[in-house]
């Protein structure tokens, strides 16, 4: 890799070389994947335009099921967005060493997942051309949003979450940017000069002096400290979109913790799903290995148990409360028209993750990969089940109805995955996908070094 000369004489330098060496120079398979993503994206874009021009009727949502796949996707992607900042912030505060190599990618995932999730409240608006009515902006009529509405809470929570996550992620990148900048100094060629300028600008002129480090590490600590309650609040707020409503099956106090656990659950799963092909494609097998999957599996197992408990608790409460409507809603959820999605959810989220009790499976990257995919599917269906089945069977039996998504909704859903992966692929080739600095730190602390698959954890 000529572009990353000078050659590495020391372990530190080798780390820099490995990680930076993975950047740029996209191979054919990278280009191919991008091609496919762009095609899907443009198809979804067409579907969206069609929906805006023709009306929401092009989607399957209807009376009484006014929310469907769009809100399902919204909650799903917000959930995905939870792993990143969680792994970084909470594990940083708890000084869990195994975060070092995955937090950068996880944070990136957070950013892109929020970018995806943020689209859906817009896509599902009846009159998207007035979306700015939701923002608290001064206007001559002094119309302000209704701060009592959980949707406005969402607006604040999600935008705050996006901003803070972005800053947290970016400030983590600053020293690495400087590293790239400085390594470019040793390289000839116009491309190298260009990169030196760009990454130099991104590094904001980081010199790595001790006083800079002092302020920097303080700042990073506080970021982590405030990001932690933020992570917990965001999905609580999302859950209140439902819990604050009086719909049977939604109106439940367990929702906040239940959704947060679910979010972390799906987030970790998505980290696993992405990191497996990613470590292989970038040749970073030494940096993300069994040791990390083992730990992620444990976290996933824990959250899976919490979620499973929540499912059961919901049913217990529905029965124990003696509320006929609540009970009918849950009874119908399990045996009614949507029992399929319900049992998919149960299998993928509660049963399959139990495999993670087996250490052999935790440390088998392939099986973790497969399990994580099941979890992703299960968590998508969880949101679908909660939203659709509850709305389909509400208080008024006279207006019960069913919902099936249309091609528009499905195309846009597919598009959201393409959109997310598109940004992630860009990230993987332009920014150090693993925190160079933190790897070096843990090496200096003698805590962990590349290639180390520590048994303990």
């Amino acid at each position: 890799m000529a572009s990353v000369a000078p050659p590495a004489r020391t372990p530190f330098a080798r780390v820099s070389r490995d990680i930076i060496g993975a950047l740029w120079a996209p191979e054919w398979r990278y280009r191919a994947v991008m091609g496919v993503l762009v095609v899907i994206l443009s198809w979804a874009g067409f579907a969206w335009v069609y929906q805006i021009k023709t009306g929401m009727g092009t989607a399957g949502i209807s009376h009484p099921v006014m929310w469907g796949v769009y809100i399902t996707n919204f909650v799903f992607w917000v959930g995905i967005a939870h792993s990143g900042t969680l792994i970084s912030a909470i594990l940083y505060l708890t000084r869990s060493g195994w975060r070092t190599t995955i937090n950068r990618a996880a944070e990136a995932m957070t950013i892109f997942a929020v970018m995806t999730a943020g689209l859906f409240p817009l896509i599902h608006l009846g009159r998207i051309w007035y979306f700015y009515f939701l923002a608290p902006y001064p206007n001559q009529r002094f119309l302000w949003p209704n701060f009592r509405s959980p949707l406005i809470w969402d607006f604040f929570a999600i935008s705050t979450y996006f901003t803070i996550s972005l800053l947290f992620w970016y400030s983590g990148l600053i020293p690495d940017m400087a590293t790239i900048r400085d390594r470019m100094k040793g390289v000839t060629g116009r491309m190298a000069r260009f990169k030196e300028k760009v990454y130099g600008a991104l590094s904001l002129g980081w010199a790595g002096s001790d006083s800079q480090w002092k302020n920097y590490r303080r700042m990073y600590l506080y970021m982590a400290a405030i990001a932690t309650p933020l992570v917990l609040s965001v999905h609580s707020v999302v859950s209140w979109d439902f819990a604050m409503a009086i719909v049977p099956g939604w109106h439940s106090t367990i929702f906040a913790p239940y959704f947060v656990a679910g979010a972390i659950f799906s987030g970790i799963a998505m980290v696993i799903t992405l990191s497996v092909p990613f470590r292989w494609a970038l040749g970073l097998e030494d940096y993300i290995n069994e040791y990390h999957y083992d730990n992620m599996a444990k976290l996933m197992l824990l959250t899976s148990l919490i979620v499973g408990y929540a499912y059961i608790a919901e049913y217990f409460m529905a029965w124990y409360s003696g509320d006929a409507m609540e009970w009918e809603s849950f009874r119908w959820r399990a045996v009614g028209a949507y029992s399929g999605p319900f049992w998919i959810m149960m299998t993928c989220n509660v049963l399959i993750p139990l495999l993670c009790f087996a250490r052999r499976i935790r440390r088998s990257i392939m099986s973790m990969f497969i399990i994580s995919i099941f979890v992703n599917i299960g968590m998508w269906y969880e949101r679908f089940v909660i939203i659709v089945t509850s709305l389909a069977h509400e208080y008024e039996p006279g207006v019960w109805g069913l919902y099936t998504p249309t091609w528009v909704e499905l195309s846009i859903t597919a598009g959201s995955f393409a959109w997310f992966l598109f940004w992630f692929m860009i990230f993987a080739k332009t920014l150090p996908a693993i925190s160079i600095t933190e790897v070096k730190e843990s090496m200096a602390e003698g805590y962990w070094k590349p290639g180390d698959k520590k048994e303990d954890s």
């Binding site: 023709t54 009306g55 929401m56 009727g57 399957g60 949502i61 209807s62 009376h63 009484p64 099921v65 006014m66 929310w67 409240p121 599902h124 608006l125 009846g126 009159r127 998207i128 007035y130 979306f131 009515f133 939701l134 119309l143 949003p145 209704n146 009592r148 509405s149 959980p150 949707l151 406005i152 607006f155 979109d241 604050m244 409503a245 009086i246 719909v247 006929a324 409507m325 009918e328 119908w332 709305l391 069977h393 509400e394 208080y395 008024e396 039996p397 006279g398 207006v399 019960w400 109805g401």
Partner: protein, 1008 residues
């Protein structure tokens, strides 16, 4: 002001109004608003003018007030002074606007040239007709001229007679699809009165019906509904009892306290047997002697077996009928008219007579006015004459025989061999489509005219809009043709136009009513009042000898053992005989019983369905000896297993975009049999077989489940419980007359109003007039069958019906959330013990509205007057409010919907036409409230009780909906809200609705 002036300004208004409407009521830019340069007198832009007229959607002749804004009629409401409907109107009456604004109207005279209908000028058209008539008269073949008209009694009818007489033809055929001839004939036989009496439902403590759909289409449904609910709904501690006898629960039947499931065609025997019981029990007094010989042979035992009603029931019902303080028995009406209809009517007459009802609840004197309608034999003759080429000219006005006569009679084919078929039709219905010359008539809203629905009632119609198209009133055509013919004929038609003729006709009425008054005065008064009327005394009648000649044979049905099911064809309450099918409001209006839209269906009992392995929505083939039709099944517990029913009205081969190809017409199955004595069409005359054609969901219905799962959404209590509760409530009201049901936080404490509504479920009969009134008032779009199938109907007000058992708590019973109660699916449920509760459901305008706090942009919030308002301009369409509405009363604009010209002219300028992507719902007709407040402000007072009234409350024929100010303890709504039967739907959610429902009351046998 003379009518010539009126015409002039209507012209101006028509134009400017059209302009204004285009600019005012559509999304597109660039339409020009045409201002008034010189404001026509009587017109203030933005202030409606009201014109009195008469509804011509059915023969009942209800009086109407037409609301006209800038020259456009935008709403039709009942005329409060009119004796027939007292200000109320049914769904069909509301939809009469869509007759005038129908996009498929014929826009000018048409002539069939080389097989195609080509436009032609009026002069040529009339010249052609004149020329044909001349040659006819020259040849002395006057009787080769036929004139088909409807049976209403009015000046036009007399003009027809004069005209035919002048031409010299005796072949005027008066044809009414749903005639009353069996009743007329029965009355002639029984009482020597060939008349249709007044039925005083309001005076009847016990109503015993043998099947007449008097709340739907029979004779004068709006009047009957009003009178019926007066005696049959729970009012100050009293409630009558209604027993429905027949094979099917029609909408009328669903309002019964008891359903006697009698075999089809068994009404006569039951009536006779009951009369016999009644006489035997000595309730007939001195009338017994005359009756006994007639009914002697019909013992309950003999009758029980063939009618499927056990002896005990027959005798119990008979005695209840006799012992009730006042009672009224009703004949089978149209749907049950079999080949022995007259005899059946006679039997019912005897029952009434024996019970002493004749002269009390059945009153001759204030009779219903109808021309005698042609018998099936007469029509068959006419068909024969036509097909044998014996007819040169057939003029057809006011009905559509090709569609409304049984296909078996071959009317359509017969028309082909007629020299010249002339249709005075406004739309291209089946008959017009077969015509050679179409001379489009004005619609009633564009016409001068009158109507005499009852003795002593003269309704007067005036034009409310300048004719939209190049149409001409049939009367004018006849007059000008007559004068073209010249000679003696012209001599008898001295009037310049129909309008003058009408005025002359009314000179007779003038002499009759106010001979001393100046005619101009009288005329102007009559025009503005909508006619003149007076009470008519009751005429005493006695039993007629002729009655002994009536032979009470059991009617038989055509068909053999390959056709196991009796076919019941009943008039659709929305479409009448099919004339309503081109009004999109009526197609979109769910059938009150099945909640099905835009279609026909076959009703069959769950047992039958189980045998055939059929479920609601599967496509069935119904085959009779005459032919077969395909229609989706509707599994309905309210019909006997040996009977299937198909509504009349759909299945148009022509008649415009909204009617064509929708559903099927059961007339293809009927043999065209007739009732022996009266010659009237025997609708119940054949048997059919069923076979499954295709599975699948071929029927769109709007209600999810008819079982409210004991959620107390629709509540029903036994009479005793209701009476007890009412007593306590009244005592409470006496003690605290000024107590309010409303608490201040539900509206701004400073506001004098909190608007509220009370809906009495025991009054509501489920006719759904309110729904269509809402469509008309609030510019609700029509979405069609497919979108309704997706749950996207836009109706702000839905009429849902729940099937309930009565117990002390007034709760329903527990069974699964199926479309119909489980117990009824497998047939072993005791369906006669079920009660149907009809419940209008709309936005409840909650004090603690769940929809409000979840809206991110305040698009919905609570107004100072307690209304839950929706700000269309602010709405971004998150639809969160709808999710959070426990009543699911909100509707979302999924698309931009079209109002094809000229339907857009009907749009109410006071109500926004919503854009795609916004949420909407019932506003309590806030525009009408504002109007009332404006009037009050001008007089410097508060709005008086009953001054502000939403469209639904205004039109409700059963007077079930009361609207008013909950802050005024004396208002009717406050009083109603304190009733012992008052409850709020889903009150456990503490939404504090502004709508109070009053529980349905079931009065079981023996309860008093």
């Amino acid at each position: 002001m003379s009518e010539i002036k009126r015409r002039d300004f209507l012209k101006v208004l028509g134009l400017s109004g059209a302009g204004a409407s285009l600019a005012g009521c559509t999304q597109e830019q660039g339409h020009k608003l045409i201002p008034y340069l010189v404001r026509p007198e009587e017109i203030i832009p933005g202030i409606p003018n009201w014109y009195a007229s008469v509804c011509r959607e059915c023969p009942a002749g209800c009086g109407t007030h037409v609301k006209v804004r800038e020259g456009r009629p935008i709403k039709v409401e009942g005329n409060p002074d009119h004796p027939v409907n007292a200000g109320r109107l049914c769904a069909r009456g509301q939809a009469s606007l869509q007759g005038t604004y129908n996009p498929d109207r014929i826009t000018g005279p048409l002539f069939r040239f080389e097989g195609e209908l080509q436009p032609i000028s009026w002069d040529d058209a009339e010249a052609m007709l004149t020329e044909r008539l001349n040659s006819l008269m020259a040849a002395g073949d006057e009787n080769r001229l036929f004139l088909f008209t409807d049976s209403s009694v009015n000046s036009l009818d007399r003009l027809f007679d004069t005209w035919m007489d002048a031409i010299g033809s005796t072949n005027r055929v008066i044809y009414e699809s749903f005639d009353v001839e069996p009743l007329r004939e029965a009355n002639r036989l029984t009482f020597g009165q060939a008349e249709i009496p007044r039925y005083d439902f309001d005076g009847a403590d016990l109503v015993l019906s043998f099947g007449a759909g008097f709340l739907e289409t029979w004779i004068s449904p709006v009047q009957y509904t009003r009178l019926f609910s007066r005696s049959q709904s729970f009012r100050d501690g009293h409630k009558g009892r209604f027993i429905h006898v027949g094979p099917r629960l029609s909408l009328t039947g669903t309002n019964a306290d008891e359903w006697v499931q009698a075999a089809p065609g068994s009404a006569m025997l039951l009536a006779l047997a009951m009369t016999r019981v009644l006489v035997a029990a000595g309730h007939a007094g001195d009338r017994a002697g005359a009756i006994r010989p007639l009914v002697e042979p019909f013992t309950s035992e003999r009758v029980a077996e063939s009618t499927g009603v056990d002896v005990e029931t027959i005798e119990r019902v008979a005695l209840e009928f006799a012992e009730a303080p006042t009672s009224l028995a009703l004949p089978p009406g149209v749907e049950m008219a079999d080949r022995n209809a007259t005899a059946t009517h006679v039997a019912v007459n005897l029952l009434n007579y024996a019970a002493g009802n004749v002269g009390r609840t059945v009153r001759f004197g204030p009779n219903v006015m109808r021309r005698r309608s042609a018998s099936i034999d007469r029509l068959t003759e006419a068909v024969a004459a036509m097909s044998s080429g014996g007819v040169d000219i057939a003029l057809i006005h006011g009905n559509d025989p090709v569609h409304t006569l049984p296909s078996a009679m071959g009317f359509a084919d017969a028309l082909e061999s007629v020299g010249l078929v002339v249709a005075f039709a406004s739309y291209l219905d089946e008959t017009a489509a077969a015509a050679d010359l179409i001379l489009p008539d004005h619609t009633p809203l564009e016409s001068w005219g009158d109507q005499q629905p009852e003795v002593g009632v003269f309704g007067l119609m005036q034009p409310t809009i300048n004719p939209l198209y190049d149409t001409r009133q049939v009367g004018d055509v006849l007059i000008s043709v007559a004068s073209n013919i010249g000679g003696a004929v012209a001599g008898r038609f001295q009037w310049p136009d129909y309008q003058t003729y009408l005025r002359d006709e009314w000179r007779a009425v003038h002499r009759d009513f106010a001979p001393r008054e100046d005619f101009e005065e009288f005329w102007r008064g009559a025009v503005s009042r909508g006619g003149v009327w007076r009470d008519v005394g009751t005429q005493q009648v006695t039993l007629n000898r002729a009655v002994s000649g009536v032979d009470f044979d059991e009617p038989t049905l055509y068909g053999d053992d390959t056709t196991p099911f009796a076919l019941l064809t009943y008039p659709s309450q929305n479409l009448y005989d099919g004339r309503g099918a081109n009004r999109p409001w009526l197609q979109e209006l769910p059938d009150p019983v099945t909640k099905a839209v835009w279609n026909s269906w076959v009703e069959l009992h769950p047992d039958t369905a189980e045998q055939l392995g059929v479920e609601t929505g599967d496509m069935l083939q119904v085959t009779s000896p005459q032919g077969s039709v395909n229609a989706p099944a509707f599994v309905y517990w309210g019909i006997r297993p040996d009977t299937v029913a198909i509504p009349i009205g759909q299945g148009h081969a022509s008649y415009g975009r909204y009617a064509q190809g929708v559903g099927v017409s059961p007339l293809a199955l009927l043999p065209g049999a007739s009732d022996a004595a009266s010659g009237s069409h025997a609708w119940l005359s054949t048997r059919v077989s069923l076979s499954l054609v295709e599975r699948g969901n071929h029927l769109v219905t709007t209600q999810g489940s008819h079982d409210d799962l004991d959620r107390e959404i629709a509540q029903i209590v036994p009479f005793a419980a209701a009476a007890e509760a009412e007593e306590l409530a009244q005592e409470e009201i006496r003690q605290h007359p000024d107590a309010l049901v409303e608490t201040s936080e539900d509206a701004d404490p400073k506001s004098p109003y909190r608007w509220g509504m009370a809906i009495d479920l025991s009054s509501c009969v489920g006719c759904s007039a309110c729904v269509t009134a809402c469509y008309a008032e609030n510019n609700l779009p029509i979405v069609g069958e497919e979108l309704i199938g997706q749950g996207r109907e836009m109706s702000w007000l839905r009429l849902q019906s729940f099937y309930k058992h009565v117990d002390e708590g007034g709760h329903g019973d527990e069974h699964g959330g199926e479309a119909q109660p489980e117990a009824l699916h497998n047939g072993n449920g005791d369906s006669s013990a079920l009660h149907v509760v009809h419940q209008p459901m709309m936005c409840q305008h909650c004090g603690n509205a769940p929809c409000e706090p979840v809206c991110p942009v305040y698009a919905t919030y609570h107004s100072p007057e307690g209304l839950n308002v929706q700000v269309y301009n602010r709405c971004v369409g998150t639809r969160y409010c709808s999710n959070n509405c426990p009543y699911k009363a909100r509707r979302f604009e999924w698309f931009d919907y079209e109002f094809p010209y000229p339907l857009n002219l009907q749009l109410n300028p006071d109500v926004t036409v919503r854009e795609k992507g916004v949420m909407e719902k019932c506003t309590f007709c806030v525009q009408r409230i504002s109007a009332a407040k404006n009037t009050a402000n001008v007089d410097g007072r508060d709005v008086a009780d009953g001054e502000a009234m939403p469209a639904c409350a205004q039109t409700c024929p059963a007077e079930a909906i009361v609207f008013g100010n909950l802050r005024d303890p004396t208002s009717r709504v406050s009083q109603a809200a304190r009733s012992g039967r008052a409850y709020h739907v889903l009150s456990e959610l503490n939404t504090r609705p502004a709508i109070t429902y009053l529980k349905e009351v079931a009065r079981e046998s023996g309860e008093a």
